[in-house]
Symmetry: C2
Subunit: 441 residues, 2 copies
């Protein structure tokens, strides 16, 4: 990476104020889009060159979709936007006094800085989990999980040790939020319809899928009904849901729960929590619970030229005494409002305070079940909810091509019970000398 | 990979003779398919869990298709075939006297062994090329090349050193066979239609695409006309085709040719040659030019229970004094005939000698040009050839779902000039301690 030394974040000079957005997730993208044709120069930095639609990441992990269906290049997204500049560069530190950020490829000045860095997997400082469990927050992680699952089945066919087979086939998912529930449902679907055809040698009656949740219910952010229905659907799919339990230890083969239960598996999916993706350079007083304290205008506590939006922002508003849930709709609404407020500021008009409009929440379980909460205490489930879930996701995903690809994948999946992408692309192989043992073919 | 120690290639016992096929490429797949419902137990071993459609690999490398479009899981392919057993395992060595092979996960006995291991990139023992060039024989390699190309453009935007920009943007392709020609054409297409929209900061007039070929013509295996037309199309696309030249050195920044010419690039695509994917355990007398010597029945020289088919097989037949070209049609025809010959053997009927029926060859250049050779000295080019090329590839690819996905991708690509998969998934990052320099976001 020697080449990095000679790079710099060069942005053309401008007389318009420069808004630097760190992160091309839901919040960053909405903000940037809504600054189109406004009197600002917009610079977006991201470590990836794409915007990922995280709610569908579990589909990549369970061989339902390929990455290109749920991610779109950021440059393409903003191809028609003038004075917008994307740079694929990691950010190291903020220097608020100097209105400057330090990136991996040099420094950049800003007039307004917007931190939209989102969240990342929270392993709660447990090294067992951070080194051996599979997180599910980024596209490459989803591909890793998929490759691992399929490789384990291949190995399982070649084992005559029943204990080892168990560990290869079983999956333990930690976290009963939407990601955990959706992974469990999709795996149960695979176990029922796809895997038995691929692996006639395996008795899938023996494959256990465990879902561990510390709370006494599933889908804690949703209605009671939604939680109950999700539990019901999962149990109908033979997922072993263990509520009110915690994982204490994982050595790569055995998972130990707080009540002493030991589960055998090589595959621990970690969907138990996220935390803010903090950047260095802000005072401790601006940080609360790994998120950045903001006022109702998404201004970072103590600054009037730094903002934080989306998962990383901790705003106390209305009923949300501990900040908003880390969800795409919050991020999108904050991004949109901040764009408007920046414009207002530039016109010396007053800014509008943020109010989260909760339009509902959803989770899908398997091929044709879902639970949906709508405002006004409306909850519905089953096939209709699944169709609703599908419709909303297809509508929300960015890019017409992606909509088409996803729709045709799902239609295919629905009618044929087939999932098309069971390829082991990211093979886990030792490097260097160790590699040679693996032979030439 | 400790787990490997406890694995073994367990195949259910049978009274039918066991055919072990090493390799799930064109030859292996055709052979296995044609042994369906025949009096054999069929075992297929492959290091991957999928059959890759190699002629379209360059499309994955140039952001035209995702891997799931050109690869299908082998297990799915044979899901309906009785007494067929797939094992994802590398093979280390053959022990012909004991009718046994040694795999990474243990030994396996055979009655008939078929070596269908195909070919791999030939770097002609040059370490410069093998460590720093991008080969294009496998799906992960195609993804690596794609990620590298896109990462280079991202870096180029952040460089103010014109020399460095040159090296980041230029691409040198070595080898003027179908792969080299197709990569060059697809890159030229990207340079013209896609990249300028993604990177308005870059002057793509400065991006050079060089195609180096040692012979005085392109597409050496095809007709003179096809070679000439391909050259014409590529030059129309501003590809710098250098015929009769060889690459001598590459240090990761500069390519030196045999005539002293120095080209600046970080990206050397190596499409200059392949060699047989040999397996240890055969006597030297059975090997010629890195391929396995076979008779007209694909029997390996000196054995009557070991066969070799496809790229790895070196058969002297008719006009093919130095073996057949390493092409999919040869492999498929040999695979099919061998299935029939194995059946004949089992019935004590005579075997049929192989005769390669050359049904033509094709190469595509960019979005809507191709050259096609048909038997009877018919050569055609241009848009019609491209449509023919497209049709043949869609028809030949395995799996109805793949046909659909590819067709819709191409239709999309054709009508919108867009290519959907410009995601940098396989990011090149240093490991361990080095990684930390890259910051948390």
């Amino acid at each position: 990476m020697d080449v990095l030394r000679n790079l710099s974040v060069q942005i053309p000079p401008t007389d318009k104020p420069r808004v630097v957005i760190i992160g091309g997730g839901f919040a960053g993208v909405q903000l940037a889009r809504n600054l189109k044709n406004k009197p600002f120069q917009v610079v977006m930095l991201d470590r990836n060159n794409y915007h990922g639609f995280q709610p569908l990441l579990y589909q990549v992990a369970t061989a339902g979709l390929e990455p290109d269906s749920i991610a779109g290049p950021l440059r393409q997204l903003f191809a028609d936007q003038k004075d917008f500049h994307f740079r694929m560069a990691r950010v190291r530190r903020i220097f608020p006094k100097e209105k400057r950020i330090e990136t991996l490829v040099g420094d950049l000045n800003y007039d307004y800085l917007v931190i939209a860095t989102g969240s990342r997997t929270n392993f709660f400082n447990n090294e067992d989990f951070s080194t051996q469990a599979f997180p599910l927050k980024q596209v490459p992680q989803a591909l890793d999980l998929r490759s691992n699952l399929l490789q384990n089945f291949e190995k399982s066919v070649m084992s005559d040790d029943p204990e080892m087979q168990k560990r290869l086939m079983n999956v333990v998912i930690v976290g009963g939020g939407p990601t955990g529930v959706e992974v469990a449902g999709a795996l149960a679907e695979l176990r029922r319809h796809i895997l038995p055809e691929d692996y006639p040698e395996i008795d899938f009656g023996k494959m256990e899928i465990h879902l561990i949740e510390g709370q006494p219910r599933l889908l804690n952010g949703m209605s009671d009904k939604a939680g109950k229905w999700a539990l019901e659907y999962l149990e109908r799919f033979d997922v072993d849901v263990m509520l009110g339990k915690f994982v204490q230890k994982f050595d790569g083969q055995f998972v130990t729960l707080n009540d002493g239960t030991v589960l055998e598996t090589n595959t621990l999916v970690w969907a138990a929590g996220v935390k803010g993706n903090l950047i260095e350079g802000l005072p401790d007083s601006s940080v609360v619970n790994s998120r950045i304290k903001v006022d109702l205008y998404n201004r970072v506590h103590g600054f009037d030229d730094i903002f934080a939006v989306g998962d990383i922002a901790h705003m106390v508003e209305g009923e949300y005494k501990n900040g908003h849930p880390m969800l795409a709709p919050v991020a999108m609404q904050q991004g949109r409002l901040l764009a408007q407020n920046l414009v207002n500021m530039s016109k010396n008009k007053p800014m509008k305070p943020f109010h989260y409009e909760n339009r509902g929440a959803m989770a899908t379980i398997g091929r044709n079940k879902a639970v949906v909460d709508l405002p006004g205490n409306i909850t519905f489930g089953g096939l209709f909810a699944w169709m609703f879930w599908m419709f909303i996701h297809i509508v929300s995903i960015i890019g017409f091509r992606n909509k088409l690809v996803i729709f045709s994948n799902w239609a295919w999946n629905y009618f044929t019970y087939d999932r098309g992408t069971r390829l082991i692309i990211r093979l886990f192989l030792p490097k260097g000398k160790e590699r040679e043992k693996f032979g030439t073919y």
